[in-house]
């Protein structure tokens, strides 16, 4: 029999603790496949966020550090500046990246730090139990927007790629979604490109991955995928937002 599916070396043989239908498992796998395909596992240092993906160091089979909530881009800056020949990436959620860590995100991007950011946008705080995120959609119910997000009270969902696109240090921005096979292949291609930008020493790269959180959305996994397609993608359009590589 011919083997056509292999385990990725960059992923440990551990059962993940994510909820059924959560996008993190798929995105972890895409990052791991990319690292193996580029042959960079032994020189990669990943940064796990505070949030559901905090346990990423239990799943990835390469060096991983934690960072305080919102601070991964600053930690990545410290690592990359003293070890410029290593591959450094952060893996961050929406609250981490564009609420508490807004300053770190914008300034690392603006300095053109030669790092890669995998930004998982699921419009909600997962680990803390479903509170409003900076990307929560207008009208979306969360535990802290029980009547739906009202822009008069809570402002508007932030489009991160568009926000960062004007910064001089930013080389590559793309938004993808892990909803179906076609989109997952595109997501993989974007992640690989983002790492390649770093390997080519071309500056800051970020891939925003629209991902589902069935548990905190109160939907089943199938409905959650449909939610991304019907509600998130129209507000967060997919595609390359900036590419000067």
């Amino acid at each position: 029999m011919k083997k056509i599916l292999f385990k990725t070396e960059a992923l440990k043989d551990t059962v993940m603790s994510y909820c059924p239908g959560c996008g993190h498992g798929v995105i972890h796998r895409l990052v791991a496949e990319t690292i193996d395909e580029l042959g960079i596992r032994e020189k990669t240092i990943g940064i796990a966020p505070v949030g559901c993906a905090v346990f990423a160091y239990d799943y990835w089979n390469f060096d991983v550090t934690e960072a305080a909530h919102g601070r991964p881009p600053a930690v990545a800056t410290g690592i990359k500046r003293v070890l410029p020949d290593r591959v450094v990436f952060t893996y961050q959620g929406d609250g981490d990246l564009i609420a508490i860590g807004t300053a770190e995100t914008i300034h690392a991007a603006n300095r053109g730090e030669n790092i890669t950011v995998i930004f998982v946008n699921n419009c909600v705080y997962g680990m803390t139990g479903g509170q409003m995120a900076p990307t929560t959609l207008i009208g979306q119910k969360t535990t802290t927007t029980p009547f739906g997000r009202d822009e008069k009270i809570a402002g508007y969902p932030i489009r991160v790629c568009e926000l960062l696109s004007s910064l001089g240090g930013v080389t590559y921005l793309e938004r993808v979604a892990v909803t179906d096979a076609k989109n997952i292949i595109k997501a993989k291609r974007a992640i690989k490109k983002a790492f390649q930008v770093q390997l080519d020493k071309k500056g800051f790269s970020l891939v925003e991955v629209l991902s589902s959180c069935p548990t905190d959305w109160g939907l089943n996994p199938q409905e959650a995928i449909e939610y991304i397609e019907k509600n998130m993608i129209p507000y967060f359009p997919l595609g390359v937002v900036k590419d000067k590589s």
Binding site: D63, T65, E66, A74, G78, V82, L83
Partner: protein, 349 residues
């Protein structure tokens, strides 16, 4: 005599750090420590090392976190309000057992306060400062030469214990100039190998660095381990004593207050009052033995600080009613004069 150069305290810290092979400096402007950031922006670049003016003090300490986890020697500096912002990062470094050097050139507080020298951050520095049950080693030099020397030791101590080390000075020490002997002998420590760093898993199994311990009992175990480490730091206690043997009253002071106390001691001794001085150089761990030893024949102590009574609590805890402990302090950037201290001594005796 060795060749001496006239140097500002803040600059001496920078030059000492460079001599100690500090590979990366991250800082954000705040008075009265700005000369150091400016100095490093030039020197680190000249030496092909890392300098970043960060977007905030929070970012700066997290950049130190990142550089330190690769095994590189890294530091940041700030003044009181900025040090408050760094506390989150310092707590994470303590939890992750990462070395690093943090300079606090104290100014008056609370809040924005003023830019005068002050010693209001003693509690913050010696009690950990951020959240959680941890400590940082705290060094309190009182001269520009000692700043130059101790910052070099600070990097060694940070590596020895895998722990952040805080250097606590104030605006006066940071801004003043004194001659510095750049070849002065500095204590060297035996350092363990850095077999915990993240630099890519090329020749080994992957590693992780974390302060999160969710498994039942794991965090308690981690904290006990840290506690043992803090106890071990006692082997590196530093303390200066002067004229304690024949003293009828002993002054206890650190940093710039100790300088004023040295003047007060000279003045009082000219008047025939036998005054001694104990100057803790490590504020954590605190020089308990030296103070206890003095209580065998000294029954009066006067603690002098530029705050309204912080270190005095540690002195009282140690002396534990074996002698009278008095306090003289001024807050908000007020620096006592030697005459004020001598008057206070006379009042007590």
């Amino acid at each position: 005599m060795a060749k001496r150069v006239l140097m500002k305290g803040n600059i001496a810290i920078g030059e000492g750090a460079i001599k100690a092979n500090c590979k990366a400096y991250f800082g954000y402007p705040i008075t009265p420590q700005n000369d150091l950031t400016a100095h490093m922006s030039k020197r680190m670049v000249e030496l092909d090392r890392v300098f970043i003016q960060s977007e905030s003090e929070i970012a700066a300490i997290n950049m130190v976190f990142g550089a330190a986890l690769t095994g590189a020697r890294a530091m940041t500096s700030s003044s009181s309000p900025g040090i408050s912002l760094k506390q989150e990062g310092i707590s994470y470094m303590a939890g992750c057992e990462l070395p690093g050097v943090i300079l606090n050139v104290q100014r008056g507080g609370p809040g924005l306060g003023n830019i005068s020298g002050a010693q209001g951050d003693y509690f913050q520095a010696t009690r950990g400062g951020g959240h959680g049950d941890y400590r940082t080693l705290v060094l309190a030099p009182d001269s520009v030469q000692e700043m130059y020397d101790l910052v070099q030791e600070a990097f060694d101590l940070a590596d020895k214990y895998r722990n952040p080390v805080v250097i606590l000075i104030d605006g006066v020490l940071g801004q003043m100039m004194e001659p510095v002997d750049l070849e002065h002998d500095v204590k060297k420590y035996k350092l363990p190998p850095k077999d915990w760093i993240l630099d890519g898993c090329k020749t080994r199994e992957p590693r992780s660095i974390q302060s999160l311990y969710m498994k039942e009992g794991a965090l308690e175990e981690h904290n006990w381990k840290l506690h043992e480490k803090y106890k071990k730091m006692k082997q590196d206690i530093k303390c200066e004593t002067q004229h304690v043997d024949d003293a009828e009253i002993v002054l206890v002071a650190f940093g710039i207050s100790a300088r004023v106390c040295k003047s007060a001691m000279q003045l009082a001794r000219k008047e025939g009052i036998k005054v001694g001085l104990i100057r803790p150089i490590t504020l954590f761990p605190f020089p308990e033995e030296e103070i206890l030893k003095a209580t065998e024949h000294v029954k009066k102590f006067l603690v002098v600080e530029m705050n309204l009574g912080q270190m005095v609590e540690d002195v009282k805890l140690i002396i534990n009613s074996k002698a009278d402990v008095h306090f003289y302090g001024r807050p908000g950037g007020g620096l006592s004069s030697q005459e004020e201290i001598v008057n206070e001594i006379s009042r007590i005796l």
